[in-house]
């Protein structure tokens, strides 16, 4: 049907495309400004740091001539604004300097660890969606009932949960006591050296290679931390779903749908949720971004080799290049997800499409 529609009216289609193009342009502009701000903030953080960055590179006991040479080499003798331009220029090329800890370029480190975080946050969000949406819908439909109240309390507990603590308790109960899941890390020792990742997303890699032993092991590692993140995400998603659904269920089209004789299930899932889905996409993107943030603490608890663990390890070792690089990358992903959610909103709502 939609194919016939678009071929019938090429003019309409290109108009849509250009409107979308304009929106895209606006987003790119906003993203660029926000990203520059992000870099400026991290630059500022790097400046207020009491540690002399040059000494951090060459060491405290380096002779004065070496320090001076390094100062010149890294541009620390330039005026601050020139240093900033240099920093921006390098950051845009993905150059955040070298990590003192790993001795590799920071960006290379991040590229190595990022898939682990991506996988964890993705599985977490999926779990959050799987439980959050039905619970939110149920709470809205049974508004004011015991179920509604229960969903509200479960959600508020999720909001109040120190996730690192929940992670520790989870490890204690499900790993140490019950033995239902694997412990810290991403993959068991038995597979660590035989398994060669392709995408870096181990679950996906295991499927691609049809290696079900690895899949089971990886799954058993990821399920606990992902469930905990999923709980946090569920708290947020269920709450927003409830509020959007209440709004939709009060609309006239719901009355019309009832007047047509549709079943309540069809009205709830086929009409109201479909309408609520438009703003919900924004929420899901934001929740995904929040999980990237939440992963910092979760990864620390579960020794999950992602960007969060990388960041905290660098913090504890005063590896400032790595800290700022990771901050910029996480911030950039955060910004990107925010903008993407706006864009998706425009794409999904037929009212804003035309």
């Amino acid at each position: 049907m939609s194919v016939a529609h678009t071929t019938n009216e090429p003019g309409r289609r290109s108009k849509k495309a250009s409107a979308l193009g304009f929106a895209l342009l606006r987003f790119v502009f906003i993203a660029a400004v926000t990203f520059l701000g992000l870099i400026a903030v991290t630059f500022f953080i790097g400046r207020v740091m009491p540690i002399d960055p040059v000494l951090a590179i060459v060491g405290d006991r380096a002779p004065a001539s070496v320090v001076a040479a390094a100062r010149q080499q890294y541009g620390f003798d330039l005026p601050v604004w020139q240093q900033f331009l240099l920093y921006v220029q390098k950051a845009l090329q993905g150059d955040f300097g070298t990590s003192v800890l790993s001795t590799y370029p920071v960006m290379q480190d991040i590229r190595r660890v990022f898939p682990a975080t991506l996988e964890l946050a993705t599985v977490g969000t999926l779990i959050g969606l799987l439980f959050g949406i039905p619970l939110g819908v149920l709470a809205a439909v049974k508004r004011g009932s015991f179920i509604d109240q229960a969903v509200r309390v479960i959600g508020l507990i999720g909001y109040s949960m120190p996730i690192f603590w929940l992670g520790l308790l989870g490890l204690l109960v499900f790993y140490a006591r019950l033995g239902w899941v694997e412990g810290p890390g991403r993959i068991g020792i038995a597979y660590e050296y035989t398994f060669t990742p392709v995408t870096g997303l181990y679950l996906l890699d295991a499927i691609i290679q049809r290696d079900w032993g690895v899949f089971r092991d990886v799954f058993s590692h990821i399920i606990l931390p992902a469930s905990l993140l999923g709980y946090i995400s569920m708290a947020y998603i269920s709450r927003m779903t409830r509020s959007f659904m209440l709004n939709e269920l009060a609309q006239e089209y719901v009355v019309a749908a009832r007047a047509k004789g549709l079943s309540e299930a069809r009205i709830i899932w086929g009409h109201a949720l479909r309408n609520a889905a438009v703003p919900l996409v924004t929420v899901i993107a934001l929740s995904y971004a929040t999980l990237l943030e939440g992963s910092v603490l979760t990864e620390t608890v579960f020794s999950w080799p992602g960007i969060g663990l990388y960041l905290t390890n660098s913090l504890q070792n005063a590896d400032m290049n790595a800290v700022l690089g990771a901050t910029v990358v996480i911030g950039a992903v955060f910004i990107a997800l925010n903008l993407l959610s706006d864009l998706l909103y425009q794409l999904l709502d037929p009212r804003t499409r035309s």
């Binding site: 049907m1 939609s2 016939a4 529609h5 019938n8 609309q251 006239e252 089209y253 009355v255 019309a256 749908a257 009832r258 007047a259 047509k260 004789g261 549709l262 079943s263 069809r266 009409h271 479909r274 309408n275 438009v278 709502d349 037929p350 009212r351 035309s354």
Partner: protein, 280 residues
């Protein structure tokens, strides 16, 4: 009951909303009967006319309490009908048109799919056949290019077109009773008459019963066979539309007086009288 040839029998219908501050009685003992004719229900906003229509449909808010001595559609007692069977009636045998197509059509589903949905809820028809019948229905409400409109979203059409789509959606399964709740109030004056004419023809051609709910007495009197006048949840007067000029009740007379007549003296400007004893 079978002696009764009437499509709808309503006796002493009451709708009450319990709230924190007390019970609000929206409809307080309304009675009327309807054959395959056009009945107008007129009243000010808050007179309970819309709640009467919704109670017949079974669409009253679940927190409200609906009672009646008699509430029958085609001999079926609606009061004791299980929810599932009541639902099967809606859309199939009894349908309702709401006020503003801007809000009463689902904004994220194309018009065609919303019409098809009604049909496929009540009849086992193939996708292709449902589409054909939806297109026919769109043509029947005088939409010139049904194929194009079929794929449009509600926000992409005008108010008049939207209301025609709404009529198509509600009539596609061939109901015998249609409740139209202010179906033209949200439309431009110029398209009101078009939509009314379409509605009128469809009701006549299909031999349906129609309950036309409106605040506009003139519209109702020109469009309906009989008129029920409601005030504060009660029926104050019931009479054939042709005899409206001879209305007995002061409230009806007041409503009539509010309408300007060409050439008549406009001084003093009449004010609608409302007396507490009418509501008693």
């Amino acid at each position: 009951m079978s002696v009764d040839k009437n499509l709808l029998e309503v006796e002493n219908l009451k709708v009450r909303f319990p709230t924190r501050t007390g019970v609000i009685e929206a409809v307080r003992g309304v009675s009327f009967s309807l054959g395959r004719e056009r009945l107008g229900i007129v009243g000010e906003s808050g007179s309970g006319k819309s709640q009467t229509g919704r109670a017949i449909m079974g669409l009253t808010d679940p927190r409200a309490e609906v009672t009646a001595d008699r509430l029958e559609f085609d001999g079926i007692d609606l009061r004791s009908l299980p929810a599932r069977e009541r639902r099967a009636l809606r859309g199939k045998r009894v349908a309702m048109i709401l006020q503003d197509p801007k809000y009463s059509l689902d904004p994220v589903i194309s018009i065609g799919r919303q019409i098809v949905e009604t049909l496929r809820t009540h009849e086992k028809v193939s996708r292709a056949e449902a589409r054909e019948r939806a297109l026919d229905m769109l043509a029947a409400v005088q939409i010139r290019d049904p194929k194009r409109v079929f794929d449009l979203y509600p926000h992409e059409v005008s108010g008049g077109m939207g209301q025609r789509a709404m009529i198509a959606m509600m009539l596609v399964a061939g109901p015998e009773l249609l409740i139209a709740d202010e179906p033209t109030s949200a439309l431009d004056v110029t398209v009101q008459l078009d939509v009314l004419a379409i509605l009128d023809r469809l009701v006549a051609d299909r031999g349906m019963g129609l309950i036309f709910i409106s605040h506009d007495l003139r519209l109702v009197s020109s469009f309906c066979d009989r008129v029920v006048v409601m005030y504060a949840g009660k029926v104050v007067e019931q009479l054939p539309a042709s005899e409206l000029a001879n209305a007995q009740h002061p409230y009806t007379q007041g409503l009539l007086d509010c309408m300007p007549k060409i050439g008549a003296d406009r001084h003093p400007l009449p004010v609608l009288a409302r007396k507490a004893e009418w509501a008693a």
